[in-house]
């Protein structure tokens, strides 16, 4: 299991569904953008409308004056009108005047004949929005509005500058006979003024021009109000949309996490399928996924069970015919057999013995797995087990030299000493299989941090690159390249698999790598140490003497 997990590269940072859906909700930002361009368009239309209206006003004044050329003549003769009584022109102008607009009339010499009206609007024109909700929203968003929107100001300088009077483009055009309009900024740049000029025709001659001026403030405040509403609505829509998406994403990712947790729990550290995966009942894709997981796990469990039984079945099925052969051979020995045939009986018996060993090995892993499920854990001194075992090997395999390195202190781990001894048997068997003749087999036990490292190293052929990760799988063997032939026993590649099972039972792992000196291979079990006990544990001999 460890191998599988390290084989898979988990992405280092997680990009959750929640974050993705939030990103997706950014699409909602297109709504304010659309709104913005719409409001801009509206502003343009309003401006065009204002321009038309101003031009129309100018034309109306000009048309009215056109019928009274005398007025212009007379005025032109005078230098200035007496301010107290309004002239006739001013009366005409006043009658056509729009609120908040300023109308002035000039003659060909750019002399101002009449000036009527003012550009300033009432400051408190903007009424606060109606309804408490709108008011709250307005108050909340006011800082945002001030930041984003340019407020129309009424404190601009509304004097009629001389250069406009004498040199404005619209004035020139109008005096040349072409009605024109123009936007210009006030002298203090606080507002924009739209001026429309229209010529006053008398016969075929232009005798003067009418100029109608208005600020764009009315349009601006209209536009601002539209923007405010736009911001408020889109913000509300965005918040609502993102909020809904977030809740939905939360819900989704919680369900997926639950599914993931359940899936992970469904297979235990030994890779066996545990029962208890609860298929979800939801009628959507995640529910489907959960149901297919459940179905898949069920099939997997069936298959695993089939495989587990398979080895047992196979060995059981084979044992009976093997027993037939061996019992027949034994009966045959009791009969009188010609001397020349005895050698064949011996060979047949040897073959049967090897068959029996194969059968035992086949079931060894399965039996070990069964045993691991029921094995009891105890606290024991790993060093004592290792030294005992190595002393045993020295007696059992005199052809090999064993070198043992142990730390001084006790190394306590939690688990089964019998199983550790069994795993060490397999490690040493493996080392002997590949060892160069007459070279020592090193067994060492070291402590690194919270882990004990039990390593068996031999001199001999190195591991092929491709084998390093797979060595601890079932039925994987390099036996073809092994030189050792000290035992005439079959090899099934289960030894290191058993080491792995036992290491995993102790919450540890098994590793194989080439020696740094390039002369051979070291296979090791890394086992976590037992948690320190509050009081020093008494050794078994102390217990016995007590």
């Amino acid at each position: 299991m460890d191998g599988i997990l390290t084989g898979m590269r988990w992405p280092r940072f997680k990009f959750s569904i929640r974050a993705k859906l939030l990103l997706v909700s950014l699409v909602l930002l297109a709504i304010p953008l659309l709104g913005y361009s719409f409001v801009r368009e509206m502003e343009n239309v309003l401006r065009a409308g204002q321009e038309q209206v101003l031009l129309a006003t100018a034309r109306a004044v000009a048309t009215t004056l056109h019928d009274r050329p005398a007025l212009l003549e007379r005025r032109a003769g005078e230098t200035s009108a007496s301010p107290s009584e309004p002239s006739e022109i001013e009366q005409i102008v006043k009658s056509l005047q729009r609120s908040n607009s300023r109308i002035w009339v000039i003659d060909r010499q750019h002399r101002l004949l009449a000036l009527e009206g003012g550009l300033r609007r009432d400051e408190n024109e903007e009424a606060p929005p109606q309804g408490w909700w709108a008011r709250v929203l307005h108050t909340l968003l006011r800082p945002l509005y001030t930041l984003l929107l340019e407020r129309p100001r009424e404190d601009f300088d509304d004097t009629l500058p001389e250069e406009v009077l004498s040199g404005g483009k619209e004035v020139y055009s109008a005096l040349a006979g072409v009605p024109t309009s123009r936007w210009r900024q006030t002298a203090d740049r606080r507002a924009v003024i739209l001026a429309a000029a229209h010529p006053i025709w008398v016969g075929d001659e232009v005798v003067g021009a009418v100029v109608v001026e208005e600020t764009t403030n009315a349009v601006l405040s209209l536009r601002n109000r539209a923007f405010e509403q736009l911001i408020a609505t889109t913000l509300a829509a965005f918040l609502l949309g993102a909020g809904t998406l977030f809740v939905f994403a939360n819900h989704l990712s919680r369900r997926l996490q639950r599914l993931r947790d359940e899936t992970e729990r469904a297979i235990d550290a030994q890779g066996r399928v545990m029962h208890g995966f609860q298929a979800a009942r939801d009628r959507d894709e995640i529910g489907d996924l959960s149901r297919s997981f459940a179905a898949m796990l069920e099939r997997l469990a069936d298959y695993t069970a089939y495989l587990e039984r398979m080895a047992d079945r196979l060995s059981h099925e084979l044992r009976t015919p093997v027993a037939v052969v061996s019992s027949s051979l034994e009966n045959l020995k009791s009969e009188t057999v010609p001397e020349g045939a005895r050698v064949y009986i011996t060979r047949a018996e040897e073959g049967v013995r090897r068959l029996n060993i194969i059968l035992t090995r086949i079931t060894e892993a399965t039996r070990l797995e069964q045993m691991l499920r029921h094995a009891e854990r105890e606290r024991f001194d790993l060093g004592r087990v290792v030294s005992g075992c190595v002393a045993g090997y020295a007696g059992a395999f005199p052809a090999f030299r064993f070198e043992l390195r142990l730390p001084e202190r006790r190394i306590e781990i939690e688990g089964s000493p019998d199983l550790i001894a069994q795993a060490l048997d397999k490690l040493v068997e493996n080392a002997m299989d590949f060892s160069e003749p007459d070279r020592p087999i090193d067994v060492s036990l070291t402590v690194e941090g919270n882990e004990a490292r039990l390593a068996v190293s031999n001199e001999g052929p190195e591991l092929p690159e491709a084998m390093q990760g797979r060595l601890f799988e079932s039925m994987v063997s390099m036996r073809g390249e092994a030189r050792g032939s000290h035992r005439n026993t079959p090899h099934l590649g289960l030894g290191l698999f058993i080491v792995r099972l036992i290491a995993e039972f102790h919450h540890g792992r098994a590793l194989a790598r080439n020696r740094p000196d390039g002369k051979g291979v070291v296979v090791q079990m890394v086992l976590p140490l037992a948690a320190p006990e509050p009081r020093p544990a008494r050794s078994e001999s102390e217990l016995r003497n007590a």
């Binding site: 009976t320 037939v324 019992s327 034994e330 009966n331 060894e364 069964q370 005992g388 075992c389 019998d418």
Partner: protein, 230 residues
């Protein structure tokens, strides 16, 4: 009068091979291929010893059923399981039913014969009261070599034949380490190391059931086991 041995085994070749080997030793042998036939014959007349396979034809656990029925007929009849099944589960189940021993089919014929002879000796001793006893005492342990029974602190410990022989091998020389191979040969058994381990485990458990402080069997890792004289 020769001893009568019943063999209940569905495989004809093994059945006849074992029967031939036993007949050669002078035993009278009856063979039965399945449970109903065997049971019918046992109800008429009990054999002196029964060798039973677990899987009998169509009945996967027919042997277990048969032994249960046989134990109901006789409490003392020696029964040996001879089977291809080698899982701990089957072994424990078989011994719980009251079998005297549990052997896998790879047991050699001499080993099987030794067991049969030992079981018959025990029957003889039990049936002749007042027979001279052959008792070994090691501290709290008392082994009756004739009856093949064990007592610890005067309480009986129910051991199978294999287990009894293993304990006997261990206590012969207290303090000496017996390797797994030695234990196997003393117990007339050819099995793998892990089977010896589980036998020792079961022996310990049986003693612990009688005396929770029992710790006389010591594991010497890599070598074997020894009996600690207290």
């Amino acid at each position: 009068m020769s001893r009568r041995i019943a063999i209940v085994e569905d495989d004809p070749a093994i059945r006849e091979n074992v029967a031939d080997a036993l007949r050669r030793q002078g035993y009278e042998v009856q063979t039965y291929p399945d449970r109903p036939q065997a049971l019918a014959a046992f109800k008429t007349r009990l054999p002196d010893l029964a060798i039973v396979d677990i899987g009998l034809g169509a009945e996967v656990d027919g042997g277990f059923t048969l032994v249960r029925e046989l134990r109901a007929l006789s409490e003392t009849l020696p029964i040996i399981f001879l089977t291809a099944r080698d899982s701990d589960f089957d072994l424990v189940a078989g011994l719980r039913l009251g079998a005297d021993d549990y052997l896998t089919k790879d047991v050699s014929m001499p080993h099987l014969l030794a067991r049969i002879a030992a079981l018959f000796r025990r029957v003889d001793v039990l049936s002749t009261p007042g027979h001279a006893e052959d008792i070994v005492v090691r501290g709290h342990l008392e082994l009756d070599l004739k009856r093949m029974t064990a007592r610890w602190r005067d309480k009986p410990v129910e051991l199978t034949l294999t287990e009894f022989w293993m304990v006997n091998a261990l206590v012969k020389y207290p303090g000496h380490v017996k390797s797994r191979d030695q234990l196997m040969s003393e117990a007339n058994l050819v099995v793998d190391d892990s089977t010896v381990t589980s036998h020792i485990k079961r022996i310990r458990k049986k003693f612990l059931a009688v005396d929770p402080d029992f710790d006389a069997i010591d594991t010497v890792y890599g070598m074997g086991y020894r009996w600690m004289a207290s």
